[in-house]
Subunit: 388 residues, 2 copies
């Protein structure tokens, strides 16, 4: 059953090992003042920085650099970018990096000309954008977040220990994204597999909701099967282009809003994981993996039919001679085994969480209502304890 | 393995039983001269014509009507529309109907200001569009073709017995499409199931190609599973909103260019089926169903691994104790049983094809090279004979 919706996703994707060749044609569509934003020095080491700067110069752009975007971009960094973007009359924000850099670019694009505190307006009050927006383009070096083809932009406030995502409308989506799987080859394994789990969890957040028959669930089963297969190959050989290109494409489609259209969704693992991230600054995908098994085992009885289907369709569990509970449990066991196989962090204790933080993390977890069970504060604390 | 590609699909979809409420906001984006094009009288009987006219009037539009678009729109009808669109200085072509009407609207949008014969330029020579394009919006009353979210536009020339599809670029895609599953309830069963098979065949044309590991194949397996399930429900109860809404969404995603990106494709059933259509004017989906089983059984040995996978993943064939050939054949048998169950035409003889036409139909079938076997003329004749 599909509910009513409007779908539009105008981002132009250039995909493949020649994707950067399309940058010049995209740059021609915008004015001369480009804000180039990126994280640490990895794009300098890989040579991508030099390649991009050369194209920008060849296109006659005036480039302002804004490096140092951190893995969980902070509200202070956002304010710094706003000042710079206004001063330099920026025409295009070009983000080179992973999901954090893309998220940051989008947050900046709506915040630069916001007449009040953008954190309060767009994150605490979640208001619609009513000011000028600076267009964004992305060159992706890490996959997972899907930020290259959606309006999501997560910002962290360390003072208040809040990590909040605003999903902006299609006018904030990147105008273009350059996706070259080769750029993801050099990522350290920890970040690589964290990204893989972020992808799987984006899908499960949208899959584990609803009791109706919905095409998107079938599509998501296909995306998950492909991800599970390709991730196993990529952890053994990170330079397997076939596996990395499939994973890059799955990441985009897992969160480009398509599979969620017309259906209910959960997102509770992200809410708890993001709160863990606000307390520990741990890698996003690992905060999700570390709370997932406790969460899914907790809600399994409330969505048993879907967990049974997940076991059979995604993990090839043979249902013969098993009860529904046994089939569903076998599916989650298979998922856990895959998570351990690819090297995910399975305990929040390993991410720096201590017992005294648990109440605060639970307090910081927004409670979503689309999943199989609306959690109480006590249940979140219980899930966190089981994840220690 | 994903090849290199650029993907952009800017069509805005309004989906659901309230979708028509979005028409006024779309109309505001265009000038006052609207060409309203549709087929026979079915939209008058259903009341949709009156609803649309009321909204057009409320928005202050000057409406020119162009009814009588036939199931396989002809080149003569195209010329008629070109003259009218130029004379009336049309700002927006609004297509109300099924895939043929949407296809016609797109063909017209690129042809109206073509300075030479558009049939020769865009169909016989397949050139790129270099003239002004009139924007198109669609209100869909029948699903199958995917025309509501792509650049495809098939035109038929009865004089030369040619039925040719040109897939235009994203600037020709509908600017918006209104998809209300309820509008599809009143379609006669013959047209409804022909549309269902058109959808399945769009997917199989893209699925049965390549020996690599490609995410799109997993996604297509999901789309096919959902279609097979929902079609069985819809033939028993055409007013089952859940089934009809799922099918409408599958149809769109089957041919909105996503699943073909970065992969090879076949399209040989469409080539043979379209040639059958040029000779008989039969319903598009039925020309596909009537040649499919002979075609797929013919190519099965050349793509055995994929046909085996199709059997297991799409049709739940138990592989235990069977050879690869037996598994693959069991999958095709299951497909044939489903086709008969939903009431498809399985023989081209029933569509008016006679023995003396076979050589001509084979001559009119473009030979595509992306499938598991590049067919010879003799093989096409053989497939047609087996389909009689």
């Amino acid at each position: 059953m599909l509910g009513n919706f409007t779908y539009c996703n105008p981002t132009r994707l250039h995909f493949g090992d020649d994707a950067l060749e399309h940058l010049a044609e995209e740059l021609k569509l915008y004015g001369e003042n480009v804000l180039l934003t990126y994280g640490g020095g990895s794009i300098k080491k890989s040579g991508l920085y030099d390649d991009v700067m050369q194209i920008l110069q060849d296109c006659g752009k005036h480039v302002t650099e804004l490096p140092g975007v951190m893995p969980n971009p902070t509200v202070e960094k956002l304010y710094e970018g706003c000042k710079l973007a206004r001063e330099q009359k920026i025409d295009l924000i070009l983000a080179v990096g992973g999901g954090s850099v893309c998220d940051y670019a989008k947050a900046l694009s709506v915040s630069a000309y916001c007449e009040e505190d953008p954190w309060e307006k767009y994150y605490l009050r979640m208001e619609d954008v009513d000011n000028a927006i600076i267009p964004v383009g992305c060159i992706l070096t890490m996959v997972g977040t899907g930020s290259e083809m959606n309006g999501g932009a997560v910002i962290t406030n360390h003072d208040t220990k809040q990590k909040i995502g605003h999903v902006f409308g299609e006018n904030v989506f990147p105008k273009f994204s350059i996706l070259n799987p080769v750029y993801t080859f050099t990522l350290p394994k920890y970040q690589m597999v964290a990204g893989f789990y972020d992808i799987l969890n984006h899908i499960t957040e949208q899959y584990f909701s609803g009791t109706d028959d919905c095409t998107s669930d079938y599509v998501m089963e296909g995306l998950m099967r492909s991800l599970i297969h390709s991730a196993r190959i990529a952890v053994k050989n990170p330079e397997d282009y076939e596996a990395r290109s499939n994973i890059m494409w799955i990441a985009t489609w897992a969160l480009n809003t398509m599979v969620a259209k017309g259906k209910t969704t959960d997102w509770m693992v992200h809410m708890i994981g993001q709160s863990v991230g606000a307390y520990t600054d741990a890698t996003h995908g690992m905060t999700l993996s570390a709370v997932s098994m406790a969460y899914y085992r907790h809600i399994m009885p409330y969505g048993l039919a879907k967990f049974k289907r997940f076991a059979i369709q995604v993990w090839d569990i043979d249902p013969t001679g098993k009860t529904d509970e046994e089939i569903a449990s076998a599916g989650l066991n298979a998922m856990e085994a895959w998570m351990r196989e690819i090297g995910l962090v399975m305990r929040i204790g390993e991410l720096g969480v201590t017992e005294d933080m648990l109440e605060g993390i639970a307090d910081g977890s927004f409670i979503m209502t689309g999943g199989y069970k609306v959690l109480t504060h006590e249940e979140i604390v219980e899930i966190l304890k089981e994840s220690m």
